[in-house]
């Protein structure tokens, strides 16, 4: 099955990004496909490479980058939501790209399921 994933909350404050990551990783392990993850609302804050969490904690953005590199996942950050929150190409972690909401709608049209992680 092809899953599209929508992440609506930022890292660390809220579990949404962690749960989305674990869901995506597990779905892939079980033989499903996760071609794209879309980041909206404060979810765009998951895409910054400037975050430096303590060594003994997970690094949320780096974890997404690694998963994307291993499995060819398209990590898309909404441009309008990103501009509001100071996220631009200069701060993006590897594997993330900035694009429009059309990329979210496409997931709903093309994939078997669209799963939302948010508040």
């Amino acid at each position: 099955m092809q899953f599209g994933i929508l992440v609506n909350e930022g890292p660390y404050t809220h579990q949404a990004s962690d749960t989305a990551y674990l869901f995506a990783r597990t779905a892939i392990e079980k033989g499903h496909k996760v071609p794209r993850v879309f980041f909206y609302h404060d979810g765009v804050n998951n895409s910054t490479r400037l975050a430096t969490p303590p060594q003994d904690d997970r690094n949320v953005s780096a974890r997404w980058s690694n998963l994307a590199e291993e499995h060819g996942i398209d990590l898309v950050v909404c441009v309008a939501a990103a501009q509001r929150r100071g996220i631009n190409d200069d701060v993006l972690a590897p594997g993330f790209r900035i694009s429009g909401l059309g990329q979210l709608v496409e997931m709903g049209i093309q994939y078997d399921r669209l799963v939302t992680f948010g508040d």
């Binding site: 929508l6 609506n8 909206y40 609302h41 404060d42 309008a80 939501a81 429009g100 909401l101 059309g102 979210l104 709608v105 496409e106 709903g108 049209i109 093309q110 669209l114 939302t116 948010g118 508040d119």
Partner: protein, 131 residues
């Protein structure tokens, strides 16, 4: 805005998208940014429904004035939805009752549904996105 131009993902597939609006309009950004997704989805010629439930019913209230709280007033957008062929607007009866609201308090024409009717409508959808 170029995002608002007619869009096509190339597949010609039309799916039923439901947008579930659960939050008051200005306490969080969800209503404002959620509307953007609704408009883009309509631009992709999809079958769009909007549901207002819980505090989401406050998004449609008449007489919203945001001057005092210095945030953008986007309530006019709801009245413009018809222009984007978004005409399926539903509100939850119990949410209206709990907040002392009737259809006369709302800025647009809506269909009021019971919980059971809402559940049936949701079951018919291909994609449900909740804000």
């Amino acid at each position: 805005m170029s995002d608002m131009d007619e869009m096509d993902d190339g597949s010609g597939v039309v799916k039923k998208f439901m947008f579930l609006n659960r939050k008051a309009p200005h306490g969080t950004v969800y209503a404002l940014e959620g509307l953007e997704v609704v408009l883009i989805t309509a631009a992709f010629d999809q079958d769009v429904s909007m549901v207002f439930t819980d505090d989401g019913v406050f998004q449609l209230m008449k007489g919203i004035d945001t001057k005092g709280i210095e945030v953008k007033d986007f309530s006019k957008t709801y009245r413009a939805l018809e222009g984007y062929d978004i005409e399926k607007l539903y509100v939850d009866q119990a949410s209206m009752d709990a907040r002392g609201l009737t259809e006369d308090d709302l800025i647009v024409d809506v269909t009021v549904l019971s919980v059971d009717e809402m559940a049936n409508l949701m079951a018919e959808q291909d994609v449900v996105i909740s804000f």
